[in-house]
């Protein structure tokens, strides 16, 4: 159309029975019934589509590529169909987009304040989606390659998540697999958590950012990407019995906290993982050889403000940290200790008062890592199980 207007009045039917599309300029106002049916083709409406009544997608796909609005209207998307938004679109609180089909937001800004409950794959591939209403996404697949802001009241608990960037206050619970492929996760989830049971962290070389939120791992984190993870007032919690496995070269930086009550493992690749640049603290449960293993390479904690480790045990591997391989490490008592281990060969340098009871090194097969407390007011005891790491006392 060129400046045309289509008005589908109350009680009227506008039915597309194939994949035909409307392009150009003008607008489409639907007060009646708009239906896409019969064939599996996909139709695109590239002029603004304003729905005040009912959109009935029965087969194939329907994309409002010209944007528009859903004003107290209903859009039904059954299984096997895909409803798309490709330009700026608003949906008010009285509207609904529901069904067993798929949702794709590919461009513009989609401001969806009503009910959005599509049981198929939800994909935010471009533009931004502001989900401020009752957005429900459970036991399905959620892909976020654009930006999605979850600020509504619904439950976001998909089985599989692949994301690059999202934000919002809603808790996000991942039932099966979460793929974080890259980009900036700048969610402002100050009072919410992110739960997942299996987490594939495979972002490319640029940074990811966690902002003001908690990533709570009750499953497995497998970090295979080459990029870094920036924490900005964020917390990563590794629950007991779980495994967090950063591989290759990794950097966890900025401010935030890593609480490890499970296993934090560095393995497979020979690269160095760095916990760097003022990560506020690293709190961990009593470490055992099963709970803190870094294999075949180094893990550096640099410029830490505090590294906490509850102590009290007397059996090796249960009451104090064990350092495996050519690692520099830390240990403290009562959760108040601090340690700033420098790079290998430079020694372990305590940056402030510490209450270290014991440092236990095991299989230290490379250069000596002397302990050089700078501001240590309490005794520090080092114990070594194997040769190659001579004991030091300060």
């Amino acid at each position: 159309m060129t400046g045309g207007i289509i008005t589908n009045r109350a009680g009227a039917l506008f039915q597309i029975q194939n994949g035909a599309s409307i392009s150009g300029s003008g607008r489409f106002d639907n007060v009646g019934l708009f239906r896409k049916s019969v064939t599996a083709g996909a139709s695109s409406i590239s002029v603004p589509f304003n729905n005040y009544s009912t959109v009935d997608l029965q087969t194939g796909g329907l994309t409002f590529s010209g944007g528009g609005a859903n004003i107290a209207g209903t859009i039904t998307v059954p299984a096997g169909t895909t409803f798309g938004l490709g330009n700026t679109f608003t949906s008010d609180g009285a509207s609904s987009i529901t069904g067993a089909g798929n949702l794709t937001v590919s461009g513009g800004t989609a401001s969806l304040a009503g009910l959005v409950n599509l049981a198929g794959t939800n994909t935010f591939s471009g533009g931004a989606a502001n989900l401020t209403g009752n957005y429900i996404c459970t036991n399905n697949t959620l892909n976020i390659f654009g930006t999605a802001n979850f600020d509504g009241s619904g439950t976001v608990s998909p089985a599989v998540v692949t994301w690059a960037a999202c934000s919002g206050r809603d808790p996000l619970t991942v039932g099966s697999l979460m793929n974080w492929t890259g980009g900036h996760d700048e969610r402002d989830w100050a009072n919410s958590d992110c739960h997942w049971s299996h987490y594939e962290y495979s972002q490319p070389v640029f940074y990811d950012t966690l902002t003001s939120r908690t990533l709570e791992n009750a499953g497995t984190i497998v970090w295979t990407g080459g990029g870094a993870c920036n924490l900005s007032s964020a917390v990563i919690t590794n629950r007991p019995g779980r495994y967090s496995t950063p591989e290759r070269h990794r950097t966890l930086r900025w401010s935030g906290r890593l609480d490890n009550a499970g296993t934090f493992r560095k393995e497979i690749n020979s690269g160095t993982t760095t916990i760097d640049n003022n990560v506020a603290s690293i709190t961990t449960a009593p470490l055992t050889s099963e709970r803190a293993l870094w294999r075949r390479s180094r893990l550096h904690f640099q410029h830490q403000r505090a590294a906490h480790c509850a102590l009290g045990g007397t059996t090796a591997g249960t009451g104090y940290a064990q350092l495996h391989g050519d690692l520099v490490g830390w240990i403290g008592e009562g959760g108040e200790s601090a340690v700033v281990p420098a790079a290998q060969g430079e020694g372990i340098i305590w940056s402030r008062e510490i209450t270290v009871v014991q440092i236990h090194a095991q299989r230290a097969h490379e250069r000596t890592v002397p302990c050089l407390p700078e501001v240590a007011h309490k005794p520090v005891t080092l114990a070594v199980e194997q040769s190659g790491f001579p004991p030091s006392r300060n």
């Binding site: 159309m1 060129t2 400046g3 045309g4 207007i5 289509i6 008005t7 589908n8 009045r9 009680g11 009227a12 039917l13 506008f14 039915q15 597309i16 029975q17 194939n18 994949g19 035909a20 599309s21 409307i22 392009s23 150009g24 003008g26 009646g32 019969v38």
Partner: protein, 89 residues
Amino acid sequence: MTGGTVNLNTDIAVQDLDFNTTLNGTGTLTVSNVMNWFAGGSINGNGLNSLVIPAGATLNLVNSGTVFFTSRTLDNGGTVSWSGAGGMQ
């Protein structure tokens, strides 16, 4: 209407219409029963007038190719059934 150009500068109503031409002008066209719109048909207006499909009437878009709709309102109170594969520009 097949081929050529029709300039409609007054409001008219017809019962049935097979349409494959170019329609211009300021008048409103009302089809009270069935209109079949074929590929290549072009309906143009002045931005104020309409093509009216009232309640009980049907517009069949049976266009194998593109149809054109410019500066006019398609006012549907009945049924638009679009079975053609062509688009609308």
